[in-house]
Symmetry: C2
Subunit: 460 residues, 2 copies
């Protein structure tokens, strides 16, 4: 028989958003219980520790304009350090290898001009969209009727410039441009300020890292919880009436006044709600598939690329590893390269045997940094699609006609059930910053309702 417990608020999901919401509500004096399906907290934040270094399997970067995550890291006493960017960048574009400083390789000036005009056109779309209510854009229906892939077919004159643009889109969304709505892409990017800000390392979203890994953030948050944190407790059913909410799993039935669902949309879609979710909310959750990315780490005795004047940053329209960065620890007592395979590249690699995949990944590293890349001391891969309690990273995206038609259901509570998670954020959705913002927002929502109820007014 499942154990019955009570709390003022149940938080479903012990990731960053859920933990922030729980702590915020506890500070306001509420009894909060957190239910987490895994046997650890942190969701898409997970760190593997080795003797001389650590591997962030999931989210790892803090960047320009992300005030909440910088503030939280400071508050928790974590040390930050900048992503290593000294040296030349490598790009492999349409079969040609470029080595360069600055933002762009020395491509044909026509291609560069084409890239710039298309990039600027997209930035203009981004500027016009609000993160609060993108569905209110005067041309929202038109923007949401096509994919950013089909838009790019028109926006660029040269195939090379388009491929370069699509490379950055895939890197940000971990999805192919052909599956992402233009309106959604603009909304998501607007959350980070601009596309330029989102793809940059220095003064951009990939600026800083946490010494020792980002899992410390969620572990420290969890250790501050006063109420129960129930690990290994997936939630299968949420029932509500006008008195209370019951949150049920195989092991527990949690009875509470309000519930916060702080898990990825495609997992929220699997919970059986009673009464059923409103059509728009249901339809939206069914139209938010997660991205697809495999994160690879290769560890070497030393960061050999640095001595050759290379930064470790590289990107390619051709290779299965579309981007790499230098992920060595700050003291550089060993060299760590991180590489990402996104969208269709991830899909192709996922189907291979591990040994073949490893060979192909290291071969990409070799194309970027030379033969020493072929023999790492250690090699790690993390495919978040295989995690039943995440199902894909970095975050969910939307196909056409989801945000415009059902967007208003993204953050709207359903009776006594409230929704958080980085996908619901008004700034930096898909990032740690967005997770925190969504946790704060949902805590405020719940607090407002419960405070009203305490004053003797209706709770609904």
């Amino acid at each position: 028989m499942p154990k019955k417990i009570r709390a003022d608020v149940a938080v479903v999901g012990g990731g960053l958003a859920g933990l922030v919401a729980a702590l915020w509500l506890e500070r306001e004096g509420y009894e909060v219980a957190v239910l987490e399906a895994r046997d650890r907290v942190g969701g898409r934040l997970s760190t593997v520790h080795q003797d001389r270094y650590w591997i962030d399997e999931g989210g790892q970067w803090l960047g320009e304009g992300q005030n909440r995550i910088y503030g939280l890291a400071f508050e928790l006493g974590l040390e930050l350090f900048p992503t290593h960017t000294n040296g030349d960048t490598i790009a492999v574009i349409d079969g040609t290898r470029y080595r360069f400083r600055g933002e762009m390789p020395r491509l044909d000036p026509l291609v560069l001009a084409d890239f710039a005009q298309g990039f600027w056109r997209f930035e203009r779309v981004v500027r016009g969209v609000s993160t609060e209510a993108p569905w209110r854009h005067p041309r929202a229906a038109r923007l949401d009727a096509e994919t950013i892939g089909s838009w790019a077919q028109r926006a660029f004159l040269t195939a090379k410039a388009r491929k370069l643009f699509e490379l950055f889109i895939s890197a940000v969304f971990a999805a192919d441009p052909e599956e992402i709505s233009l309106l959604f892409a603009a909304f998501y990017v607007k959350g980070g300020g601009s596309f330029r800000n989102m793809i940059a390392t220095q003064n951009g979203a990939q600026q800083d890292r946490v010494v020792g890994g980002t899992q410390q953030i969620v572990e420290k948050l969890a250790s501050n919880l006063q109420g129960p944190l129930l690990l290994g407790c997936p939630v299968s059913e949420i029932t509500q009436d006008n008195q209370k909410v019951e949150v049920r799993g195989a092991k527990t039935i949690l009875s509470c006044a309000r519930a916060v669902v702080a898990i990825p949309p495609s997992l929220a879609a699997r919970i059986a709600f009673e009464p059923a979710l409103p059509g728009d909310k249901q339809n939206l959750l069914e139209r938010m598939p997660p991205g697809s990315v495999i994160k690879f780490h290769a560890v070497y005795e030393e960061p050999f690329w640095r001595s050759e004047g290379l930064s470790g940053e590289a990107g390619s329209t051709d290779l299965p590893i579309s981007f790499t960065f230098d992920n060595s620890p700050p003291e550089a007592n060993c060299g760590v390269l991180v590489g990402f395979a996104e969208g269709r590249n991830a899909q192709a690699l996922r189907k291979m045997e591990e040994s073949e995949r490893r060979r192909i990944v290291l071969d990409s590293f070799r194309e970027y940094f030379g033969h020493p890349a072929l023999e790492p001391a250690q090699y790690f891969e993390k495919d978040w699609s295989k995690e039943p309690w995440t199902r894909g990273c970095y975050a969910a995206h939307m196909p056409p006609w989801a945000l415009w038609r059902y967007g208003e259901a993204l953050r709207a509570p359903v009776g006594r059930v409230h929704f958080a998670g980085t996908e619901t954020a008004r700034i930096w959705p898909g990032y740690m910053e967005g997770a925190i913002e969504s946790g704060e927002r949902v805590a405020y929502e719940v607090h407002r309702q419960l405070a009203r109820a305490r004053k003797g007014k209706s709770d609904v």
Copy 2:
């Protein structure tokens, strides 16, 4: 404690596809158990009986080229009759009411020419796509990169012709053109031969009806089952190893050699598979949302429109009820109009109070057929989105980049688990015909494996 039972094959879902598969396998001598979540069989086939008539709440038409469903109706001894089409058709297009015979109202010749050329261009795309493997089309990636909505923006020169085309698209898919991949649309329509065939009444998909309603089909099939039919048994978990499959619900654990999942994709996506489904299958199931349609019936003392020379067929780019048909019983002892609200029209109507919705629906009927339409003796509405064990009709569709990237996973078995349902059909997906074809195909698949196992060879 759940009851343990055994069978050779478990069929999950007692709709048309599942019942056909079960009977086919029983004929081959296998022990089959059917698990159905509802307390009735039939899924999207459901008939309500009144004194003088019946109402098909779900699928109702048999049409040109659907040999299996005609054959089955004959075999089961059901009587058919043609959809009433005598008389003039009404169209309300951009504020103007047209009354006409034949296929098209007398619009501006330029609009008609534009409609014809765009329609023909789509038919040409349809002809080039195979129903067996649409992802192998030489331009599959390009066709799957955009919505049929954004394609129509280019394909038509006049807004009026485009709206007319989109009206037919919405009618076939119960979804907006902006959410449907062009490749998927072509694949789906190819399953019915041509777009013209699909939207026609006489000599088309809406040609004939079953006297007494289509639910008789599934009820008669179910009564022929020899093995157990377990109603009220939703399946939550399917576990397999290289020996057997276990199909679990709250009440039963069914142990079997093979399982057939014959339920809509978005419901299959909620079953917990152990081991987890391969990434491509999972991703595909998460990208097949159901359509959105509300089916309305208004019953009158007599088919008053007939005496005015009207057929009861009407359509509109403006009104919330985008199509109507004469749904009276063959003896016309009363008059029944059926009307459909699809896609965004259904979404808008769904949010209203029932009384307001009724007023708006009957007002559409009035615009088509005059004032007598305002006062039906009875009024019925059926919103399949609100059915937890269907979640939307007519069938699932795909956004861009699902069919091309994950299409091969549509019909592929996963170990000992096989997939049926009209969405997996090679002909007429989304129709009763497709459900039967998928049931036959899956039965053959399972039989081939089990027969091999009986001969002492490996079953996998």
